[in-house]
């Protein structure tokens, strides 16, 4: 009995193992790609779902995870052919592509297999079709919706964070100077000026990295809402006044009108003159990257400056970027590496492996031991591209910001309004017009002349005061007060008649009183202004 029990038990185990899904982790075949979709740590977690894990030999090499480390977890280390033939579920980094032997990875996937990786379905139509032909179930890491619950599955943000950091490191390595400012015995070192274009995840990571290296950082984005995030990292947010919000759908920036881009180019060109390093991160999903740095702006940069163009994969934000190369143009090094994430492969693999495991866990049904999609679930619905060969992308609720519909609505740029209070405008104009009307009817000509002078002076005064810093309001008030003592001149003019009369006395008192005002006002202003001082003044000199 005992032995037969054993046999039954043994067979049961074997049946269970045979029924359990096999999860394959292939080696990435793109030469640019050093990441891997699972680390030994996440392999252990995947196994706990009750599946067997196959890892292609050398899969973790680029990310510094040895085959032995995978083998220790109990995963089987196999060759590519075996892996593709056996795996029911494949976890990958890059979208499937053509191998050296001419076979497409998509065609190697088991009929009815499951695949989770980056897919970019908008620009990879043929890939989606051939996967559909395999009756595959495909989840795209790049389609995970950017909602709070899905943050732990957001591979794009996790990658962008590393890319932004690395971009600064690449720039710093190529920059022939210090980033932080120092005062040394051999002279003063000025801190490097860094401009970060686009304050998404990558941009903010770049801001933080540059800031922590001691550079002076300014950043720019079309979405005014990110201003606070930029400033919270201690960088200056460049003000961009143009009436068209860049807030697109899904937390990304949207594509903007031509006039808008021209205005952006102008702002960047203006800043390019005095910055040392530019990191550009402006990418809109599925659309060629906007050319924000013109070649003119590059020419105007100092020799030895560095541009790192994170958007190089989508054509680059700089007109002179060459994909996958670091080229020197007009004395400026322009770095167009598209493998910034792979340059941090150990780290980015860990992050990617965690996000892909989180997604797998989310769609995993423990009872069936398989991927089961709930199409009412926002995350599942967003991420799924194919369900058993059926095309479910794009999800219905999302308006597609994709390449086949790149026509943005024509937006007429409006000039930036003058910073005068708009409510006052019409009232003011009306008052002036009626005043002028009355004056024209009754007043002598010299009155009209005076009125002209008066109104012009009002306009000048109105425009002069708006940009006074609040700290100077008291000195401003006391200086205007002193200046209004000009009424003294009126008193002096009235003295012209001479004599003892009341006119002379009144005028004399007026002069006296106004003079108190003049001397008191100016002197007290002088006293106040002397007190205002700047702290660093002492230290720097």
């Amino acid at each position: 009995m005992a032995s037969s029990d054993d046999v039954v038990h043994g067979q049961g185990v074997r049946v269970a193992v045979a029924l359990a899904l096999k999860v394959g982790i292939p080696k990435e075949i793109s030469p640019q790609e050093k990441r891997v979709a699972a680390t030994p740590d996440t392999v252990k977690k995947i196994q706990k779902l009750g599946v067997e894990v196959l890892v292609e030999a050398g899969a973790g090499e680029g990310a510094h995870f040895q085959d032995g480390a995978y083998a220790e977890t109990g995963a089987r280390v196999v060759q590519a052919e075996e892996l593709w033939a056996e795996a029911d579920l494949v976890l990958k980094v890059r979208a499937p592509t053509i191998r050296e032997d001419g076979k497409h990875e998509a065609d190697l996937l088991k009929e009815g297999g499951r695949l989770i990786s980056f897919i970019w379905p908008a620009s990879n139509k043929p890939l989606v079709e051939s996967l559909a032909a395999r009756k595959a179930t495909v989840l795209a890491m790049d389609c995970v919706p950017r909602i709070t619950r899905a943050q732990k599955m957001d591979a794009l943000s996790a990658t962008a964070n590393a890319v932004g950091y690395r971009a600064v490191i690449e720039a710093a390595a190529a920059f022939p100077r210090f980033l932080p400012g120092q005062v040394t015995a051999a002279g003063r070192v000025k801190p490097a000026q860094v401009l970060v274009v686009g304050a998404g995840v990558a941009g903010l990571a770049a801001v933080a990295a540059a800031k922590s290296l001691g550079a002076v950082v300014r950043a720019f984005d079309t979405r005014p809402a990110v201003r606070e995030q930029v400033e919270s990292l201690g960088a200056q947010f460049l003000k961009f006044e143009f009436t068209e919000s860049g807030e697109g759908e899904g937390g990304y920036a949207k594509q903007m009108s031509e006039a808008y881009i021209a205005a952006e180019q102008a702002l960047i060109a203006e800043n390019a003159k005095d910055v040392d390093i530019i990191i550009t991160t402006a990418v809109i999903p599925g659309v060629a990257a906007p050319k924000l740095i013109t070649s003119g702006a590059v020419v105007s940069m100092k020799h030895g400056s560095v541009i790192v163009d994170i958007a190089a994969e989508q054509g680059g934000n700089c007109a002179l970027t060459e994909r996958d190369k670091a080229v020197e143009k007009f004395g400026v090094l322009i770095v167009g590496y598209t493998d910034l994430a792979s340059r941090m492969a150990a780290q980015t693999s860990e992050l990617f492996a965690t996000t892909i495991f989180n997604l797998l866990e989310d769609v995993w049904d423990a009872k069936q031991g398989d991927v089961v999609l709930d199409l009412d679930d926002e995350v599942h619905r967003g991420a799924v591209v194919l369900n058993k060969g059926e095309l479910l992308w794009p999800p219905p609720t999302r308006v597609r910001p994709r390449s086949h519909a790149p026509q943005p609505e024509p937006v007429v740029p409006k000039p930036v309004p003058a910073p005068t209070p708009s409510r006052m405008g019409p009232v003011f104009i009306l008052a002036v017009a009626s005043l002028l009307g009355v004056a024209g009817l009754f007043a002598p000509t010299d009155f009209a002349e005076h009125l002209t002078v008066f109104l012009l002076a009002c306009v000048v005064g109105w425009h002069l005061i708006w940009n006074v810093t609040p700290a100077l309001h008291t000195p401003l008030m006391s200086v205007t007060n002193a200046i209004s003592g000009i009424i003294l001149v009126g008193g002096v003019l009235l003295l012209r008649t001479g004599g003892h009369g009341p006119v002379t006395i009144l005028a004399g008192v007026a002069v006296l009183v106004a003079m108190v005002n003049v001397s008191g006002g100016f002197l007290v202003t002088q006293r106040m202004l002397k007190m205002f001082r700047r702290g660093e003044g002492k230290a720097a000199r």
């Binding site: 002076a457 005064g461 005061i465 003592g485 001149v489 003295l495 004399g508 006296l512 205002f532």
Partner: protein, 474 residues
């Protein structure tokens, strides 16, 4: 020949005044701006005096020139003495009383111009005189009342007579009636009407400012600043002098803008400030709103010192209480002591803190606090979340969270310093009395708020001693 030279000199003076105001817009150029103003004024006065003497026979004119020289000398010396002596904490009073001088001068010049024998007698000229004198009189008495209110001679509570709007309307109406009568009279005969109007305008000035609460004083002072400009401009019209017109208009519009900026900072319209009688209704309306529970946490200087030394980022929010207690010097010493220990100290200034626009900045500058660490509301608000300790010194309404949360609060909608977002809030206060808006402050009852009662100067001095003691012990 000389007339055109005079006109050019006036033009130069006007340009210098414009440059002066322009210079005052930034810290770096402010002192140069003031210098331009002084040069412009000197030029204008010299040229006018010279024009007066030019071609005159001094034997018949000696007396007038004696009066002129005497008035300028005495006025100049008195002004200089006052300016040199005044304490920075009394700056609001000084500015207010100086405004009243301009008002008085405008009234005097207007009356003198009317009485001048060879003056033009057209209706337009008389109307100019009438308007100029009216503005001057309102400015004069209004500024005097503002002066007494700021000094504390008159209580800062608004005086709200029944039917005060009707009263104002009646006074304005009466002034207009008198104006019509005045214009109907031949030249010197209309004097009683003019003097009657001065009386009414004076009452109007008193009544208008009496009805305004202490918290709104920054707006009132800058409004009076504006009026003093318009008064000078009106004098320019009556004398046919472009320099007066231009300068008056510059000052007038500058004051108007400052008032607008202040009003925006309080989320109120200028009408609401001038006619609203703010600060009395709250007793009824705050009882309607969420009444904060009355439990506060009291603390002492030693505990606060420990807390300060254990923190990395400290923000100090000064208010009128710091000015009253003249605590700015001890505050600066405390700032230095903390900075010496590597603690990041910043100041957060609300636009209407104090009784004058920019009041706090002037006080901190007097105490030699670097203006780099003195931040405006928009700069400091995002930082509170990362701040360990906020030290609120005699500020109240400008840190009241009810302004954002309680729709029934009379200050609802006013942008405030969001000090309560910091990890700890230390509130230095004399007692539990309300601020000028008369509103109870919900921040006092927060769990992360500790109250340090007492005079601000004494409290800060104790705190400084405790900080130095703690630091030595550590």
């Amino acid at each position: 020949m000389f007339a055109s030279a005079q006109a050019l000199a006036y033009l130069a003076a006007a340009m210098l005044f414009i440059l002066s105001l322009r210079g005052l817009s930034a810290q770096e150029t402010a002192r140069r701006g003031n210098l331009f103003g002084i040069i412009g004024m000197g030029l204008a006065i010299t040229v006018t005096c010279y024009a007066l003497m030019y071609g005159r026979d001094l034997s018949t004119f000696g007396e007038a020139s004696g009066i002129l020289g005497g008035a300028i000398a005495v006025g100049g010396i008195v002004g200089a003495l006052v300016a040199a002596r005044v304490a920075m904490t009394s700056m609001p009073e000084l500015v207010a009383i100086l405004h009243s001088f301009v008002g008085a001068a405008a009234v005097l010049v207007g009356v003198a111009s009317y009485l001048e024998p060879d003056a033009k007698t057209e209706g337009a000229h008389e109307a100019e005189i009438f308007i100029g004198v009216f503005i001057g009189a309102v400015t004069f008495t209004g500024s005097v009342i503002a002066f007494f209110k700021l000094r504390g001679t008159i209580g800062s509570k608004p005086l709200l007579l029944p039917a005060r709007h009707a009263l104002n309307a009646v006074m304005v109406g009466a002034a207009i009636v008198l104006g019509v009568l005045f214009l109907g009279q031949p030249d010197p005969v209309g004097l009683p009407w003019l003097l009657g109007m001065i009386g009414i305008a004076s009452l109007l000035g008193i009544h208008l400012v009496m009805a305004i609460g202490g918290g709104d004083m920054p707006v009132v002072v800058s409004l009076l600043n504006s009026y003093s400009g318009w008064a000078a401009s009106a004098a320019g019209f009556m004398l046919g002098n472009d320099l007066l017109i231009i300068t008056g208009a510059l000052v007038g519009s500058s004051g108007a803008i400052l008032s607008t900026i202040m009003c925006r900072a309080m989320n109120r319209s200028i009408w609401n400030v001038v006619f609203g009688g703010f600060g009395v209704t709250p007793t009824s309306s705050s009882s309607k709103g969420a009444q904060p529970a009355g439990k506060v946490h009291e603390t002492n200087a030693g505990d606060v010192a420990q807390l300060l030394l254990a923190s990395k980022r400290v923000v100090i929010v000064p208010g009128y209480g710091m000015a009253v207690a003249q605590a700015q010097h001890p505050v600066r010493d405390l700032t230095d002591a903390l900075q010496k220990r590597g603690i990041d100290v910043k100041f957060g200034i609300h636009p209407v803190a104090g009784r004058l626009p920019g009041h706090m900045n002037v006080l901190l500058a007097e105490a030699n606090v670097s203006y780099d660490i003195v931040k405006e509301m928009d700069e400091i608000n995002p930082e509170f979340e990362r701040t360990d300790v906020v030290l609120i010194i005699g500020a109240n309404d400008v840190v009241n969270p009810s302004a954002l949360t309680d729709e029934h609060s009379p200050i609802y909608g006013m942008p405030v310093l969001e000090a309560w977002k910091a990890a700890h809030v230390i509130m230095l206060k004399r007692g539990m009395s309300a601020g000028y808006a008369g509103v109870d402050n919900a921040i006092c009852y927060n769990d992360n708020t500790l109250m340090l009662f007492g005079d601000a100067k004494q409290s800060i001095t104790k705190l400084l001693a405790a900080v130095q003691l703690e630091a030595k012990a550590a």
